[in-house]
């Protein structure tokens, strides 16, 4: 395994948030971290991103690695159009001509060329989140971190954005971490599902998402029941 976290422990003051977290992230696969809201999933992402330091434990494979991010909010710059929002994260990573061709390539890949000069204000919430995902894929990285990216979307937009993510995922190889509290989302997108307990977060169960391979609804129901049981178990 190229990327892993080993025995991560994190305290906020006296409060233990993460308790001995170890996860292997399979290369070019999506690992879903599933757990109750506020259990410390985002804290783990912040540790992986290097924003905060763990109290103990270590990260393997992330050192110096460029990482793409998709957040709960789109985090687009309001005064920049779609093209310039994507350009912004590519500056300094490649020359101007390469930036232009990269932006065009990704907009074409998902048939969004017509929105190239749109400003975020003129886009719907779902479309803005799609641009945020596109920005993450256009950024030259091997690793993608997604922190509840579908949380603020309504049910229709959520489905559209999930399909959009799947399309990009097929076209582009990335090692992804998707943090969510939604079982359906985890089953729909994850290759592997890591279930966290409530605070302090511990890894309760790691399971391969076989539904992702067979797309069998019965299998999905069984897996869902199993996950629910784990989550309700506290």
């Amino acid at each position: 395994m190229k990327y892993k976290v080993k025995n991560i422990v994190k305290y906020y003051g006296q409060l233990k948030v993460l308790d001995n977290i170890s996860i292997d992230f399979a290369e070019n696969k999506t690992t879903c971290i599933l757990g109750p809201s506020g259990c410390g999933k985002t804290t783990l992402l912040n540790i992986i991103a290097g924003i905060i330091k763990p109290d103990s434990g270590k990260l393997v494979g992330f050192d110096g690695e460029d990482i793409s991010f998709v957040f709960q909010e789109d985090r687009l710059i309001p005064w920049k159009n779609v093209r310039d929002n994507i350009n912004f994260v590519l500056k300094g990573k490649m020359d101007r001509r390469k930036i232009e061709s990269t932006v065009d390539k990704y907009l074409e890949l998902v048939d969004l060329q017509e929105y190239k000069y749109y400003y975020p204000k003129n886009l719907s919430g779902g479309m803005r989140q799609r641009i945020s995902i596109l920005r993450a894929f256009a950024y030259p990285s091997n690793f993608l971190i997604m922190d509840e990216p579908f949380k603020s979307l309504d049910i229709n937009n959520k489905q559209i954005v999930i399909q959009f993510f799947k399309k990009l995922r097929i076209a582009e190889k990335r090692t992804c971490i998707l943090v969510t509290h939604d079982i359906e989302e985890a089953l729909d997108l994850g290759d592997k599902i890591v279930i966290f307990s409530g605070r302090p977060a511990r890894v309760k169960k790691v399971m391969e998402n076989t539904y992702n391979l067979d797309r069998d609804e019965d299998n999905k129901r069984k897996l869902k029941m199993l996950i629910e049981k784990e989550l309700i178990g506290g």
């Binding site: 924003i51 991010f69 909010e73 710059i77 005064w79 500056k91």
Partner: protein, 252 residues
């Protein structure tokens, strides 16, 4: 959108007609040119003022004083705003100064300016003192209140600091400055004219306004008000033009 603009314009025309009607009514009611002049006498005074060979010099000097003061305030506000956002020491040093400038009575500032400076520069200083705190706080707040989520995003994507400054901080400062530019430019012009009225420089709208007061030429005062309002309007249009050129509002 077009409908709303048309509605706004028609309301503005109605409002202007209403002002003129009230003016006509009041001047007829008062029937005293010294207390409340009629439109006719005001227009006569306006023509006389414009015909005065010194008219353009008066306008030119007042606008020049106003612009010099404003640009100096803007430059200093941007510089101090940026430095204060970086240095806690400077931020704390500036806080009582800005508070003092904000709360000290305008008349006290004018009197001090008249004592300290010669009559050509006092109006510039008065305009500067009034506008600088507003511009400084606008710059400072634009930097401090920049969307932290966007800054975090930029840092996580390892965007160079230079691009973060160029593409996030500077546009944010410009956008917020554009929101206060019309009002601050207006305040600055008014304060410069007030300063001129008291310091009496050789050329200046304020100096001439004071003359009208001495001669109890109220139509002349009204005429100057019309001229000052027109200058403010021209300033406003020029600013809008600059904002259009810089594409500041395109994203809104």
């Amino acid at each position: 959108m077009k409908k709303y603009i048309l509605k706004d314009r028609s309301l503005s025309i109605i409002s202007n007609i209403l002002i003129i009607l009230v003016w006509v009514l009041l001047s007829r009611l008062v029937d005293n040119e010294v207390i409340f002049p009629s439109i006719r006498s005001t227009i006569t005074s306006l023509v006389e003022i414009i015909k005065d060979p010194k008219f353009f010099d008066m306008i030119r000097y007042s606008i020049l004083r106003s612009l010099v003061g404003y640009l100096f305030s803007l430059f200093l506000a941007i510089l101090m705003g940026i430095l204060s956002s970086i240095s806690k020491f400077l931020l704390n040093l500036m806080a009582p100064i800005i508070n003092f400038l904000r709360s000290v009575p305008t008349m006290a500032i004018i009197i001090l300016a008249l004592i300290w400076l010669n009559n050509e520069y006092a109006p510039i200083f008065i305009g500067f003192i009034m506008v600088f705190p507003i511009l400084y706080e606008t710059v400072l707040e634009s930097i401090i209140n920049v969307d932290k989520n966007i800054i975090d995003m930029a840092n996580l994507y390892r965007v160079d600091k230079i691009y973060i400054i160029k593409d996030i901080y500077i546009p944010n400062i410009l956008i917020n400055l554009s929101l206060v530019s019309t009002s601050t430019l207006g305040i600055n012009l008014k304060m410069v004219i007030a300063g001129e009225a008291l310091s009496q420089p050789k050329y200046g709208i304020g100096s001439h306004l004071q003359l009208q007061k001495i001669y109890l030429n109220t139509p002349g005062v009204f005429a100057w008000i019309i001229i000052i309002l027109s200058i403010s309007k021209i300033f406003e249009h020029i600013l809008k033009g600059v904002e259009c050129m810089l594409d500041i509002d395109k994203w809104k």
